[in-house]
Symmetry: C2
Subunit: 623 residues, 2 copies
Amino acid sequence: MIVSALLTSLGINFGLCILYFTLYSILRKQPGNIEVYAPRLVAEGKSRQESHFDLERLLPSTGWVRTAWQLSEEELLSASGLDAVVYMRIFIFSLRVFSVAGIIGICILLPVNYLGNELNDIDFSELPNKSVDLFSISNVKDGSKWLWVHFCSAYLITGVVCFLLYYEYNYISSKRLASFYASRPQSHDFSVLVRGIPVTSGSSFSNQVESFFTEYHSSTYLSHSVVRRTSKLQGLISDAEKLYKKLTHLKSRPGQKFQRNGFLGLFGRKVDAVDHTEKRLQDLEENVRIQQSDVSLIGEEVPAAFVSFKSRYGAAIAVHIQQAINPMQWITEQAPEPNDVYWPFLSSTFLRIWISKLLVIVASIFLTVIFLIPVVFVQGLANLDQLEILLPFLKRVLSITFVSQVVTGYLPSLILQMFLSFVSPIMKLFSSMQGYISHSQIERSASSKVLWFTIWNVFFANVLSGSVISQLKLFLDLKNIPSRLAAAVPAQLLNVYLPKFETGGKFWPIVHNSTIFTLILMQTIAIGIFGLKKLPLASSLTLPLPVLTLLFNEYCRKCFLPIFHAYSAESLIKKDREDHSDPAMGEFFDKLVNAYSDPCMRPLSYSDNADRHISPLLGPAQV
Amino acid sequence: MIVSALLTSLGINFGLCILYFTLYSILRKQPGNIEVYAPRLVAEGKSRQESHFDLERLLPSTGWVRTAWQLSEEELLSASGLDAVVYMRIFIFSLRVFSVAGIIGICILLPVNYLGNELNDIDFSELPNKSVDLFSISNVKDGSKWLWVHFCSAYLITGVVCFLLYYEYNYISSKRLASFYASRPQSHDFSVLVRGIPVTSGSSFSNQVESFFTEYHSSTYLSHSVVRRTSKLQGLISDAEKLYKKLTHLKSRPGQKFQRNGFLGLFGRKVDAVDHTEKRLQDLEENVRIQQSDVSLIGEEVPAAFVSFKSRYGAAIAVHIQQAINPMQWITEQAPEPNDVYWPFLSSTFLRIWISKLLVIVASIFLTVIFLIPVVFVQGLANLDQLEILLPFLKRVLSITFVSQVVTGYLPSLILQMFLSFVSPIMKLFSSMQGYISHSQIERSASSKVLWFTIWNVFFANVLSGSVISQLKLFLDLKNIPSRLAAAVPAQLLNVYLPKFETGGKFWPIVHNSTIFTLILMQTIAIGIFGLKKLPLASSLTLPLPVLTLLFNEYCRKCFLPIFHAYSAESLIKKDREDHSDPAMGEFFDKLVNAYSDPCMRPLSYSDNADRHISPLLGPAQV
């Protein structure tokens, strides 16, 4: 790639960015678009439907950017929860890392590289047609003293990134604890999921849960709800949902209202269809209600149950100590939030979950490795000469300088991004089949999969292409990964998404680990490059750097990671004691008893409630 | 190596074995040797000192072998504890694996290999001078159908070994649980070790422990003892020990008794020396007693303490739940048995332990890698031609057939064993510097180190020597590893050792893991050999074998390993409830309060008690 191609690519990206900003700032002001740009405000009834017209509505404005950036963390926390705050912190962290790396790269390393070899031969008019390799470390002479600038940069960047990581880990940890202390009692803090309830003849799973927890957790046990195989009921409910959609579609046709008012004639058949569908929906709902009311019809019990306790500490004890003599029985884990529960795998056997997990791991590895083929193919295509040979009719078009710059500078990354956009949904599908019992676990697992996918492909594609030269580019690429995780900006977090569940910032350790991995990779590459550039002393002196980075990581793991896994006895007991004198706890416990009922068991009311489907993107508002 | 050299080596080993058995069976019957061969019986006062002479005493006998093998597991359990039983099981497991592998190897694979290439050309008179490679898989023709016998053997051996592993894991797990249920209350089940007690001005560590556990474990907290830096007191005690040894030495000189009875003259100076030493010892003991009685003189408190609870379950809760908000404070772990405590690292800081651990890991890896040099050197020396060149004066001796057979067949393994004998003590020294707080942890860690050392050196030395041929030998070598761990036979366990501490069979998972590793290695080698032997189908069909083995291992980890890490709530609560009605518990709790006092604080009485040093090999009998 030559310099002018890089600049063209940069220009296109910048132009597109300005265009999207402008479009967004105009479109968001149109009243008709409010359901698209601020569905949450609509759902919460906070939107002001202003219908008067003014010119300002058609002009781009920047006020919303200021509003978005001025938003304080407290506002974000109260509006969207801790996860949103952590997303913001990840975004800010990425910006900081990128700024530091960018400043060092552009202001120090780039001039050093450019001047590295041909100090007396600078011709700036020739610059656009020179290869970008001129700015990479490959341009520096073997054994040159200038390489020590790179050496210092490696130490400097590692130091700064580790400092930023420590600062964020510390900050997010304290936020996580503060948010726990400030929180109202939450069902999942008081509940555990038990699996592997032993089969005993003559006793239902429900009875066994009752007797086990009354025996061994007599002072803290509150209630339980055994999971049932409700696939039949789910089938009925999904049928009802389909019928309801059909009905809404039929009703929304133009002129339909007229017919409903008693006009017979040409459209009589349609009125019949509506009435018929309504009748079928009502029958179906009646059927669901009958099944819900009779325990024997719901579906058989499976050996899994949600067990609730009278205190958080009681639940924590049940989670952290192996319950039964046989480690395969009475397996406990912290319950997810009631809305976060992913029901399909709760009724699966241990073996099925195990096999699913294995297959998913194999499939993920397969996808990750096999993806290299289209990437290499596309990258090869983007090579201008080969493209001209393969598609000779393009020869004339490609001879235009601008077009060739777009094709070599912009097209490869565009195509790669297009391919990459398929990966996230596939990985999420894989994760959902892996046996997880909560949506948040699925999301986190999918993130990790996409992350390792990206690292592997960027790294391996690079090794395959065989040039040590482009490794500096790789380093800058990888630095970008945390920001990929942080695709959310405030304006959107506030107005578009209603959080469906809250992980309490559990995404941060993934970002931390991937950043550490990136640092180690950068350092390893630096050691290799110093070796190739015949500066073995720099190579040896870089060796302590990965060791120190790993030690730093180990320290953070000891110091902060436990806070993201579980709350301490001290926190739990303090919080429990605070609640002890709270008169509202009685009501909470009443609710807790039914918090973990299967969604199939909730009353169905499609035929009465037509407004149900106006809800934000991420999930229905919780009743 | 040629066949006759192998047979010579076998003959020497067998001869030495018979010799040692004969010597042992005669020497053990001599009354004067009873303190060597059965020190435990002497210590327990069970030995019968028969002084009448009979001829039978001078003849070798085999009765003791029968007695040793007839010993039931119950007898061994009651006499020497669960660890001894598990050692026996490891020994039996190794014998079974070796028998199966040996039968398959000698009866099936060896004939197949020998007949593999030259079916029409068997000359048994030539056999002794042929290479042992004749019996290895290298002798089988490429692509031969006979290789499928090897393929079947790999599956058969894996199946049998996995079955035996499952059987033993299950058996030892149940024994471990049974031994827990049968045990009397033990201090370490009721106690935890707390480290990272926070520093607060104006409050001693002891006060802080008291207030923290009274606050958060009010119903189960019993007592605590804070660890103190007692190096000064330890110095005094070790001085006293040295003086005591000197005194014993002085007193035991011939004629000494006479002088003590009042004879002055030539030996007057020696009487003075004895008196002087006795005086110094008494002064030292007095000094120790003064220091022990005054808290301010003992040594400053360190931020670590043993905390005891009123129930096992109470202690388990404190161990399994992170105690403090700050994960670096109030770090708990299960306390070792009082005799098992290794005191030096209790007063170390977190950072010092961390650095020690790091240095030990580096040193162990260094030793493991660097050991290859003497091994390769010795193996090269054992090569006859090189030996003759290096040491020309040996030429005549080496030309004798028997000598050359000994040198090539027996010497290399003898020298290797000699070198290996230095490794165990070094690894144990390393482990003791790694920051462990119990002797049993040090022993287990040292075992693992020696194990990986052996695997690495056997495997890597083999790869370096470059012959795929000797890999079958390697496979048989590795199969032997579990038996190396089990160097104990009953007779010795019963009469020689008094167990100093009991791990409850925690050694077994190490044996399990190393056996699984061995299987995977064998399977990997098999896949490689089938490939080299141009039978790619067999290679591909062997691929599922390591996958299945790893799945089996994962299943065992889920099913049995938790039993070796901690006891379940069910077991603990049941046991606690049983004890609840036991009147002896009051007395136990009284003892428990002082169970974890520093050994420095025990009363010293060298000058009064001269018999103290007659105690069994492994450690003093517990008072």
